[in-house]
Symmetry: C2
Subunit: 108 residues, 2 copies
DNA sequence: AATAGTAGTAACAATATTGTAACTAATGAT
DNA sequence: ATCATTAGTTACAATATTGTTACTACTATT
């Protein structure tokens, strides 16, 4: 039985997708796996996401301990996001997806 | 670039989650990976899903070539669902998730 | 002829997710 | 004092997803 903020999951796959599922979390995490990025960079790279939703997703990911937010009191202000160790540990899952997609989905 | 029924994805992770993401598809596929199952068995095992949503998800999965539906004209009628080879190929992805969850999520 | 059991469907309601557009906070440079 | 720039927030709207309840089709058994 897995537990993620009060909710319980009997299926490990569902528990995992609770953290990385949805339209945006996986692409954000996958992008951050390439290195630390600023808010604006993520916004520009993850095409289609709005700033509001991006903020929400980043907050969720931070709350779940997958990423860290670092605010620099510069000007203009700079905010950097990076994976925690916990977030980095997901690379095994993403690697499996990337490998599977490359082997099994049509490439054009 | 991956293509799944007209939609294009530049991110392999997004492309994969397009097929197995959402609230129910992964648990259904994961359950079917244990063997062929009848509609009623899936309904009884995947707790919380309604019959309507289960039907919809099964149709999606069939359309995407991940499962096969076999109808037996018996009585009472019997309908069996099982993974296709394509569906079975996802086991690498599910295994990665199960392994990650077991290593990284609190067990209670 | 009515009943029971499996695998659904139909109409509708509720909830959750995502999007849009305009606005704010901070502050060094002009 | 105003402007520019980054990283947001707020109020609201639209869309998508999921759920509820009642109903259907099939036909062997009672």
């Amino acid at each position: 039985m897995m537990e993620i903020h009060e909710k319980k999951f009997d299926c490990p796959v569902t528990a995992t997708l609770e953290l990385i599922g949805g339209r945006w979390k996986a692409p954000i995490l996958f992008y951050l796996s390439k290195g630390t990025r600023r808010f604006g960079q993520i916004d520009a790279t993850i095409s289609g996401i709005s700033r509001k939703v991006l903020t929400e997703q980043l907050k969720d990911l931070e709350k779940d301990g997958l990423i860290i937010r670092e605010y620099y009191k510069e000007l203009p202000p700079r905010v950097e996001y990076s994976l925690t160790e916990f977030g980095q540990s997901l690379s095994s899952v993403f690697n499996a997806m990337v490998h599977w997609a490359n082997e099994n989905l049509v490439k054009k």
